[in-house]
Symmetry: C2
Subunit: 179 residues, 2 copies
Amino acid sequence: MPKDLAETLLAGEEVFSGRLLKVYRDRVRLPDGSESVREYIRHPGAVAIVALLDDDRVVLERQFRYPLGRVLVEIPAGKLEQGEDHLETGKRELLEETGYVAREWRRLGEIHNAIGYSDEVIEIWLARGLEQRQQQLAEGEFLEVFSLPLAEAQAMARDGRLTDVKTIVGLLWAAGPAG
Amino acid sequence: MPKDLAETLLAGEEVFSGRLLKVYRDRVRLPDGSESVREYIRHPGAVAIVALLDDDRVVLERQFRYPLGRVLVEIPAGKLEQGEDHLETGKRELLEETGYVAREWRRLGEIHNAIGYSDEVIEIWLARGLEQRQQQLAEGEFLEVFSLPLAEAQAMARDGRLTDVKTIVGLLWAAGPAG
């Protein structure tokens, strides 16, 4: 990285530890030698899945998102649990949320979604060769699963009808994906 | 919204109030009548700008992002200040960060970037007819401005070389944007 942009830690503390969120406040040295404060969330990382049925429909969910107070359309996704690698998380979340297992998995890339105040990284995977098993929603988890033709969902990602970032990027990457 | 997915507030409190972040914890009623807790950040909203030079190069920035500990390539962006509308924020941030003013502004759409724990909404605007004035970085703000041909930046957004979500979505929407 360009050395003259880097900020370095002087002292840090955890300032909030909740059920979901952990917030940290660090005193940092700025590139010009002055000091400042950075507040941010540490996140375990997440996996989002573009799951394609054999007829080229993509599996989507409607889920109420409390911070926004409304239902959003999303691709399946979830946080890494302790000790899991990304592929394991993807398989677990796809099965739990939608009831599908997939024979083929391919990593499309990763996104940084809130770089001003979170270290969250979301890996996006493409899953094909789906077979329906049994949905296994966690207690307190409510969502509706549906599907759309991939081309239609991609049009919605391009024209602004979809607004969730992992969903927009996942659908657009599913067309001509990264390594 | 589907009524059976909605969660309703029972009681809420601010649990952390920092310089940048405000964290809230609400007790909520879930769709099945049970109770749970939601922790989330309230964010003032932001504007990100796809600024196109007359030779079809797009204005980009390298900025150190402390939560990730590295420099990312991004389009110009910033938070709404008290009383600002989105267009005012876009004009202010573009000028402050890059030194450009623009004659033409068009709203491309909005994205929700961290729906699990933040109410942040980022509006994405396209700016054309750029003229160079004087960059006005805030104290403690360090970034490098550069430009790339739009087509090259869009290729980087498609193949995973760019990872910041507002940048990926903004560049891809700049091709065939929403209303």
